[in-house]
């Protein structure tokens, strides 16, 4: 587990899921991100040991971009395909 996220990561906000697991962190994250604009970047933090499997799967299903990951840190861009150029 990394002590800090990489220095070059840039994001608008952070979401700390703490030790929460499975559906609990997913539904909280979904509800939190729903009003955000496409292209919004968040630093997602989750100490759930399943997170390295869960968040890539969630990002694939929801078409959010997982830009980088260093457990427990995940850099996510919300709905990049919906961004207006």
């Amino acid at each position: 587990m990394s002590e800090a996220y990489p220095d070059h990561w840039e994001f608008d906000d952070e979401f700390d899921g703490g030790d929460e697991t499975c559906g609990r962190v997913i539904i909280n994250l979904y509800t939190y991100l729903k009003p955000m604009p496409p292209g919004y970047r968040i630093l997602l933090i989750s100490k759930d040991p399943a997170a390295p499997i869960e968040f890539p799967a969630w990002c694939r299903m929801t078409k959010n971009a997982l830009l980088d990951m260093v457990h427990p840190y995940y850099l996510v861009e919300y709905k990049p395909e919906l961004k207006k150029e």
Binding site: D19, E20, T21, C22, G23, R24, I26, I27, N28, L29, Y30, T31, A57, W58, M61, T62
Partner: protein
């Protein structure tokens, strides 16, 4: 990949652990942008009966059932409740919590026939 998902739950009073797990997975599905339906049948109908979900709390790391059901409904999830299963237990539409809808086998079959995967607890 199907854009729908279904979770059937047949326990509440009989097995609070399974009722809790069913709603955890339903929250994961709804939170993954699947149009998700929880179909409650047999003893599972109690998950949507007023005053019953409050009795189920499996403890950490699981949230109390009442909270799981509330989050699921607030996120847009559908809760269908087997009508004959309610009737058998002397219950009706007025006994259900907000957001739960009485439904029958046809609603479940139509949902699954559209290509929705389903997991049962």
């Amino acid at each position: 990949m199907a854009d729908k998902f279904c979770v059937t739950i047949t326990h509440c009073r009989t097995d609070g652990d399974k009722a809790t797990l069913g709603f955890v997975v339903a929250n994961a599905a709804q939170g993954s942008e699947k149009e998700t339906m929880v179909f409650l049948s047999s003893d599972g109908v109690y998950c949507a009966v007023k005053g019953e979900a409050e009795k189920i709390d499996e403890g950490a790391p699981f949230a109390p059932l009442k909270e799981l059901v509330g989050k699921f409904v607030n996120a847009g999830g559908k809760v269908y409740v087997c009508t004959p299963c309610l009737k058998k237990r002397g219950l009706g539409e007025n006994d259900l919590v907000d957001g739960a809808t009485p439904a029958g086998g046809a609603a479940l079959v139509e949902w699954l026939s559209s290509g929705s995967p389903c997991v049962g607890y």
